[in-house]
Amino acid sequence: MARWSAPVPSWTPVAVADTTAMTDGGHQTIQGGSSTQRGEIREVYLGGQAGASSPTFMVLGRTSTVGATLTALRLAAMDPSTAALAAPPVNYAASTTKPQRSATLGILLNLSFNAFGGVVRWVNGPDEIISYLGNTASLGELSLNAFTGGTPGLLGSNIVFETL
């Protein structure tokens, strides 16, 4: 199926504890477009843009409270022949109801690095899945956010995922 690119060119993560409302602009979250839509993450890229040493403990995981009234960010089909979805997934960093990282499923991927010159790239194996299903808690969202600790620094991120 179609692959989609969800970039956020420059942002500073805001570290939060589990089950605590995230801060607008301090996270990147993908939410399913409908109650039955399923998508799989294929790649996550983080490029550090900080101007001083910034140990940044980024995690990708599920949210136990999903965002509502979302402000959508960029989402681009990677293939020019991709058909538009009736209910596209949403790449967002701001919402009225803030997402909260799940205490049990909130860390599926640990992408810790130093945002001062560091680069992280994770590519999914063909047999492996990190997927979202639907658009409600706790399987309907995947969020890239900062774990409490360190000094999160400016970075650019890109999530490539595939809707199924």
């Binding site: 140990p55 860390i107 690095f113 001062f116 010159g117 680069v119 492996e128 774990f147 409490t148």
Partner: protein, 101 residues
Amino acid sequence: MKRRLIDGSGYLIIDHTNSPGINPEDIPLRLLKTTPIVKAGEVYERDVQFCAHCGTAVILNPLRERPRSYCANCDHYICDNPICNKTCSPLKKLLDNTIGG
């Protein structure tokens, strides 16, 4: 054709070639066991597998000597979490059941 358990792994690279890197004292306690310590000037590249039961990413340590946990039902690696080692409850089955209603 034979298939090894490690086939189909994902890939993780953390490049601190031009970065001060991460020191152990910087890492939050809860992440200490799962955070690769990549110091200044180092590049870290590893295969990544997933636990068939909980879906958590597991970075494969090439120096590990004790056996990895394995589920014969799933024919897949599982993580060291005791809950995942107790019963076979694969994430893929949960997703299938949810889609099927």
